[in-house]
Structure formats: C-alpha cells, structure tokens
C-alpha cells in the first residue's frame, strides 16, 4: 500500500495516544489501546503483503488475537471486577500535558533526530511520527497515577516501538518477530499478575498510596 495510507494509520496512532493522555475513563483508554494495536496489526499485515514471509503472518495473527481482542476484554473485566472506572488521574493539568506533548513531537521532528529518522530515506516522515509516538507513550507512563493506565502506557510504548522498527526496515529479521511475540506474552501475564497483586495488597490502584515502597 502506499505511503499515504500508512501515514494515515500512523496519524490514527498519534491521535489514539493523544486521546489516551486526555481521557478520564479507563474503559476509553482500553478502547484506544485496542484501536492502536489494530493499527499496528494492519501495518504488520501490510508489510506481510509486501514480503509474504510466512512468519510475519503468524505474528500478525497472534497480535491480532491477543492485542486487539483478548487484552481489552481482560482489561475491561478487570475494571468491572475492581470498579476502577474513574480512577484515572494525572500529575500535570491537561493544558500542561498538551504543551509537553507538543514539545515532545517537536523534538521528535527536530533535525537533531534526522540521522535516526532518515535510516530509510523514503519513509522518513513515518519514522519521525513513530518516534514522537514513542516519546508520548513514555510520557504517558510518567504522567498517569493509576496503575492500569500506566500498564496501557507501557503497552502502547511497545506498539510504538514496534511501529518504529517496522519502518526502520527491520521487519524481515526473525529476531524482531520472535521478540515481538515473546514480549507480548510476557507483558500481558505480568501486567495481570501485577495488578491483582497490587490490588490485593493496597486495596487501591492509585500509585501515590504506594509510598512505603521506598524503604
């Protein structure tokens, strides 16, 4: 498919991330995450079409099943079980978040990062979007207080890295595919165990109450 469509897809990813920053509800966050992973599977599928390498198909199928379907379902019943609907709170006020996001994208697009984004000259724009998406998801993890939204932040970070890698011309390498599949599984398991454990211990998923982690 042509660059234009890919750019549109990445724009969608960018928007989902912005939306993630702004939403107050966990459920909407999970929905945004599933859209994002859907975009990624489409991009993967697109690269499969180009290279018709069988493993890529396997990856696409797996990510489709897990990331787009199972993860959100899992998150939603988590929300239902522990009534976490409204517990999304952030450190910075929304205008400040927007300012930071813009700074991050500005940095990603700045020519300082030219050597990084122009690994493959023709999809230089895509790479810079991917880079900005990486930075924004990182910022999302920092910004959120709720453990669930942090987990989503991490997963979206993982998606954005995946996007960046694909367009950095590495989609053929077996290492990438295995790596992707592997970390998907791991992350999902850890996330769920982690959340239930926190919940059992603290009774709430609000990060600030975990002060006694310190010493």
């Amino acid at each position: 498919m042509n660059i234009l469509f890919l750019k549109f897809l990445f724009g969608v990813m960018f928007l989902t991330l912005v939306f993630l920053h702004l939403t107050k509800k966990n459920f909407l966050a999970t929905v945004a995450y599933s859209i994002q992973s859907l975009v990624i599977t489409i991009v993967l599928f697109n690269s499969f079409l180009e290279t018709n390498n069988f493993y890529l198909l396997l990856v696409v199928f797996l990510s489709l099943v897990i990331k787009v379907i199972i993860a959100p379902i899992f998150f939603t019943n988590l929300i239902k079980k522990h009534a976490l609907a409204f517990s999304v709170s952030t450190y910075f006020s929304t205008p400040l978040i927007l300012i930071i996001i813009s700074i991050l994208t500005f940095i990603a697009y700045s020519d300082k990062f030219l050597p990084l984004t122009s690994i493959i000259p023709n999809n230089q724009a895509l790479l810079s979007i991917a880079l900005s998406v990486i930075f924004m998801s990182l910022f999302l993890i920092i910004n959120r207080k709720g453990a669930l939204s942090q987990i989503i932040g991490i997963l979206s970070l993982e998606n954005s890295i995946l996007a960046f890698i694909i367009f950095a011309g590495l989609e053929q390498s077996p290492g990438l595919q295995i790596g992707v599949i592997f970390n998907m599984f791991i992350w999902i398991i850890i996330a769920s165990v982690f959340i239930s454990m926190i919940y059992k211990h603290f009774g709430t998923l609000n990060v600030t109450s975990m002060k006694n982690l310190k010493d």
């Binding site: 300082k112 910022f139 993890i141 920092i142 959120r144 207080k145 942090q150 975990m210 002060k211 006694n212």
Partner: protein, 683 residues
C-alpha cells in the same frame, strides 16, 4: 628424572590435585574427620608436588609457557607463563602450605563440633590453588580472576570462626580493602589495554614503548595502591592487623607468609620485568614506602598486646624490608648499575622466602598457644614454657630468626639488604645517597625495635610466672602441630646455614629476568658456603659462624660446669623480691614493657594513658583496691584518613538517597530524561 616433571602437564596435575581436594572435602561435609583427612591429605600431596615441580624448574632453569585459547573472546586467554621467578614463588607457596596443612590436621580438631570442616577444606584448597594460579597467570584478565578467587576464598577463611562478631567485622573490612585494591589493579590493566590492545603480559612487555611516560606514571601509582593494599604497606595496611588474627592460625600463617607476597610478586613482575624502562623516582618512592612501613610496622607491633595482631604488624614491617631491597634494585637499574640491581633484587627475594618461613612458624606456634589458652591477650599468658616446652622452643627460634640474629635465616637476608643499601650509600652521588641513608637508618632502627618487640612477646608469653589461672591447665600441643612447627624451625635453620647456596640460586633466578640477562654477579660464593660482596667489600659465611658459636658454647659449658667446682649444689628458692611476697602483680606486663618505648616515640604514636582505679568503698577514695593502666595508641590512619573519607562518602550518599522517592513515575521520568539526553548526545 627431573626432566619428565617439567612439561606443562605436570603443572595441571598440580592444580587439579588442589581442586579435587577442594571438591572432595565439600562432598564429605557431613563427617568432620573424613573431611579433615581428605582436605589435608590433598593439600599435603599437592604442596609436595608443588615443591618437586618448582625445585626441578629452578634447577633446570627452564621457562614454561602455554596458552589454552578460548574460542570466543579475543582478549581473554587462559595463558600461563612460568619463569624462574614464578617457580620461586611456587616453591614458597608449596613449602608453607605443606607445613600449614600438616599443622592443620591437628589444629582443626578443636573446630570439629562447631563448624563444618568440609567447607573449610574447600576454601583452604581453593586458596592454595588460586595462589598457584596468581603467580603463574600471564594474561591480565585470567590473573584478575585468579586474584578474585584468592581474595574471596581467603575472605571466607577469615570469617570461618563466625560466632565471634569481630571476626565478621574484620572480614568485612578485609573484603572492602581488597576490592578497593582490585579496583586500582583493574584500572591499571585497563590503562595498559588502552595503549597496547592486549592483556597478554608478553605483548605488554614487547609493546611497552607505546605507552607514553605520563600514562606509565599513572599505571605505577595505581599498581602501587592496588598491590600495596594486598601487600599491606603503611597507608593501606589497616585490614591486615584486623583480618589475620581473625583467621584460624594456620590460615593466617598461610595468608601472612604467602598471600601478601603475591602483591610483592606482582610488583616485581611489573616493575622489574614488564614495564621496564622506568624513571628513577619509582624506585625512590618504593624505597621510601619500604622504610616508612618497616619503621611504623614495628612501632605499632610494640604497642600491641594481642599476639596475632603483633605478628600481623610484623608482617607489615618485613614487607617494608622487602620493599627496601626492591626499591634499591629499581633505583640501581635506572641509574644503569645492573650488578647492584641484581644484588638488591636478590636481597628482597631472599627476605621474601625467609619471612614466609619464620612468620608462618611464629603464627603456628602462637596459634597452638591460643588453641590451649583460648584467648589472644598476652597479658593473661606467662610461664607457658614450663607447660609447652617445645612450642616455646619453636617460638624462640622464630623470634630469633625474625629479629635477624645470626645463626638463623633472617640475618642473612637482612645482611644482603644492608649490603645493597651500603653500596647505594657508597657509590651514589649526594641526593640518592641521602635517600639510601634514610633507608639504611630505618632498617637499623627496625632491627633494634624488632628485637625489643620479640623480647617482649617471648618474655611475656613464655617466661616468669603464670598471670592467669588458665595457664596451669594447659598441656603441650598435639603431635601433628609440633611436626609442622618443627619442620619450619628446621627450615629456618637450614636456610640460614645454606644461605650461600640459596643466594647462588636466587642469582640464577634474578638473571633469568630479561633485564639482567648479561649482568655479571656482584656476589660470589666463597668455598665454605659464604656470600662475598665484590672487591671484598664484605663477606659472611653462615656455617663458620654456626660452628664457631657451637664450639665455644660447648667449651664454656664444659669448663664451667665440669672443670670448675664440679660438686656445686643448686638450691631452688623463690625469687628474691626484697622481702615482698611476689605474686602475679609483681611481674612486668606487656604494656609496662613497651611503655618506655612508646613514650620515647610518643610523637608518632600519640599514646593516651588511662588508668581506672577501683576503690574498696567508692566514697572514701583513699584505699584503692586495684589500679588498671591501659596505654591506647590512637590509630592515626583511621582517625585522619579513613574516618573523614567515610564521612564524605556518607554525606554524598545521603544526598543522592532522596533520588529514590519511591514513586514509579519519578523513576520512569529519570529513564525518559536520560534517554533523551543519550539520543541527543549520540546523534
């Protein structure tokens, strides 16, 4: 027959014996006596093979180097290079570990129920094995690995008697200081690697000209600090008096007799062999360190009244003397007088061998006394010569050897060091002469003070009346301990008598080093086993002194007991104390003995004298029941150097502590910021 021993396979057999011993004693951990038997059996056999191996190497003068190339990495190769210098050190290691293991068979019996002997055997054999590796490794990384194994196994041996809390503290201090030293060693190897690109000692030696002089000076400073901490020179010595007493006696004998010599070995290997065209000031610095360590070591030993700490301080003093020889050798070589340099190196090697022998003899005999008395404070000893006559005899031989009294081996190595320093004073111009005079005077004063210290040690421990009731209940140490000590005493006499022959061998070892290839001998052998300095500046011959003294002693005893007044009756009475009834309070104590010396050197030692008086009834302070005077010498190193260092580190670490805010978001933001900075800096 010796030919077949020298190929490399025999070296691996030697190493494998120790490792088998280590593992087997670990397997049979449950049953103490089997573990003890296994570990000492293997260590004895191993050290015997070590002895044969090194003696054959020295006699046949063959160098041996073989590399096991490890496929993956370019710079890590398990490579050995055994030239005569390392063969000499293998000889020392195996000689001392042989007698320490024999001693250990008897000594470990009193650990049976308390701790597991298998673990001890494991670390003991591991230590000896790693010592052998350290002196033969010729690849930087492989050397560091062996160095680490040695440090760790000796750490576990130090904290072996773990029910006593200050052993743990001593072990902890020992661990920190060794790792500080190792950091500096790694730094110097990295510096070398940066310029030469390989860790092989041979490549370093060949490519030495690549390293600019300023870097070479840094390397020198780092190696001095690194190996100095292991050897225990003055500013870095604080772990030695803490760690050695904590270890079981035959381990502390092995440690202070042999392990601190690995620091000296590497100093010789680096300064004399590898980094060879060296500036003069290196030798001068080593000479000054040597004289300071020897003088201060013996002064602190005088203030001690814990027998093992006293011996540990004496190790520092003798390391100082070894460094005197080494420093003079380096100075002579850089002023291109190779013969005198060979003399200086010979003196330091001979003293390394002698110190290993008599220091381990002293530690073993002190250990067997402590084994009976269960305390290390010599104020409670006294009159032990009547209960443990042979141990007293061995301690006497050891203390006569260490204070360099003629018929024993200590004298001849100190005599050689003196000759090296005298040559320095005689032949060099004014500025170097000044330094050599300082060195010679520190050696002279050290000799005198060492004599005083060992009169105090021997007199307080063994002579006069018992100072505590425990003394009457002790008995002679078991047979295996006495065999170990007996052979060491015999060694110290033999190396004294055959000092002429040993100095010939040491010269051969010295000439094997590349820099001394063509130098002719400065000392020659006179026909009755003596050592003659060139143009008959000086000569000494051990057997003649020994024979003269023996003949005259027997003549005098014969004349004065049998010829004059044969039937003289000897009446046994109690000591004449001007009519006072002499109890144990009338005897001199270690503190009393050393008080006059401490007050003479109070500038350096800064003694603080407290006396606690206990009265019959507290309010009317006229009738003191007992008065205890303790002289405490301030440890100026802790007070002025290590304490402030510790405070600074604490302050810094407290400041950095509040980074750890306990909030995950904060941590991720740190990651994020550092990522950004890294990316910006890289692109």
């Amino acid at each position: 027959m010796l030919e077949i021993i020298t190929p490399s396979v025999s070296f691996f057999v030697l190493l494998s014996i120790f490792f088998i011993g280590a593992i087997s004693s670990l397997i049979y951990q449950k049953n103490d006596s089997i573990a003890n038997f296994l570990s000492s059996f293997f260590s004895i056999i191993g050290s015997l093979c070590g002895l044969f191996f090194s003696v054959s190497m020295i006699i046949y003068g063959k160098n041996l180097s073989f590399i096991i190339n490890y496929p993956y990495s370019s710079f890590f190769k398990i490579s050995f290079h055994i030239d005569l210098l390392s063969a000499f050190f293998i000889f020392i290691i195996s000689l001392i570990s042989l007698f320490c293991s024999i001693y250990g068979v008897g000594y470990l019996k009193h650990f049976y129920k308390k701790y597991s002997i298998g673990v001890f055997g494991f670390f003991y054999n591991l230590l000896i094995g790693s010592l052998l590796l350290v002196v033969t490794a010729s690849n930087g990384i492989f050397f560091l690995i062996a160095w680490e194994i040695m440090s760790i196994s000796s750490y576990f041996l130090v904290v072996y008697d773990r029910y006593d809390t200050d052993n743990i503290k001593a072990g902890f201090l020992y661990l920190i200081m060794t790792y500080v030293g190792t950091v500096f060693i790694i730094l110097s190897f990295l510096f070398i690697y940066k310029y030469i690109g390989s860790f092989e000692f041979i490549d370093i030696k060949s490519g030495i000209s690549l390293i600019p002089l300023s870097i070479k000076n840094n390397i020198f400073i780092f190696t001095i600090i690194g190996f100095g901490t292991k050897a225990g020179i003055i500013p870095f010595h604080i772990w030695l008096p803490a760690a050695h007493p904590a270890a079981p006696s035959h381990v502390s004998a092995l440690m202070s007799g042999v392990m601190i010599k690995t620091g000296v070995y590497m100093m010789i290997r680096l300064f004399v062999d590898i980094l060879q065209p060296i500036p003069v000031w290196w030798g001068i610095l080593i000479l000054i360190i040597g004289s300071i360590s020897s003088l201060l070591g013996v002064l602190y030993a005088l203030t001690e009244h814990d027998i093992k700490r006293l011996l540990a301080f004496h190790s520092i003093e003798n390391i100082g003397i070894i460094l005197l020889g080494l420093g003079s050798a380096l100075i002579f070589y850089s002023l291109n007088m190779p013969e005198l340099a060979l003399l200086g190196l010979m003196a330091s090697l001979f003293h390394t061998l002698n110190h290993a022998i008599f220091k381990s003899l002293l530690f073993l005999s002190a250990g067997s006394v402590i084994n009976e008395m269960h305390t290390r404070n010599i104020e409670e000893y006294g009159g032990i010569i009547k209960y443990m006559p042979q141990t007293a005899m061995f301690f006497l031989i050891g203390s006569m050897a260490i204070s360099a009294l003629p018929p024993f081996n200590g004298f001849f190595s100190e005599w050689l060091t003196y000759q090296a320093l005298f040559q320095g004073v005689a032949q060099l111009n004014l500025s170097f002469q000044g330094i050599f005079i300082i060195a010679a005077s520190s050696l002279a004063f050290t000799g005198g003070l060492a004599l005083t210290c060992f009169v105090k040690a021997f007199g307080i421990i063994f002579l006069a009346r018992p100072r505590s009731t425990k003394v009457s209940s002790i008995k002679e140490s078991p047979l295996s301990m006495r065999i170990g000590m007996g052979f060491l005493a015999l060694m110290s006499i033999l190396f004294g008598l055959f000092s002429g022959y040993t100095s010939r061998l040491l010269e051969k070892i010295g000439k094997d080093l590349s820099i001394f290839k063509d130098t002719n001998y400065f000392t020659s052998a006179s026909f009755y086993q003596g050592i003659d300095i060139k143009n008959s500046f000086a000569s000494v011959s051990a057997p003649i002194i020994f024979v003269v003294l023996i003949i005259i002693i027997f003549a005098v005893i014969f004349i004065f007991t049998f010829v004059i007044n044969k039937n003289q009756k000897i009446k046994i009475e109690n000591t004449w104390g001007c009519g006072l009834n002499l109890n144990k309070r009338a005897e001199i104590t270690a503190t009393g003995f050393a008080r006059s010396i401490i007050l003479v050197f109070k500038g350096i030692l800064k003694p603080s004298i407290q006396n606690e008086v206990e009265y019959h009834d507290a309010d009317s302070r006229y009738l003191p029941k007992s008065r205890v005077i303790t002289i405490h010498v301030k440890n100026i190193y802790n007070y002025y150097f290590y304490q402030p260092l510790r405070n600074i580190i604490n302050i810094i670490s407290l400041k950095t502590k509040n980074i750890q805010s306990g909030n995950i978001n904060a941590y991720i933001s740190y990651i994020f910021i550092s990522l950004i900075i890294a990316l910006l800096s890289v692109l």
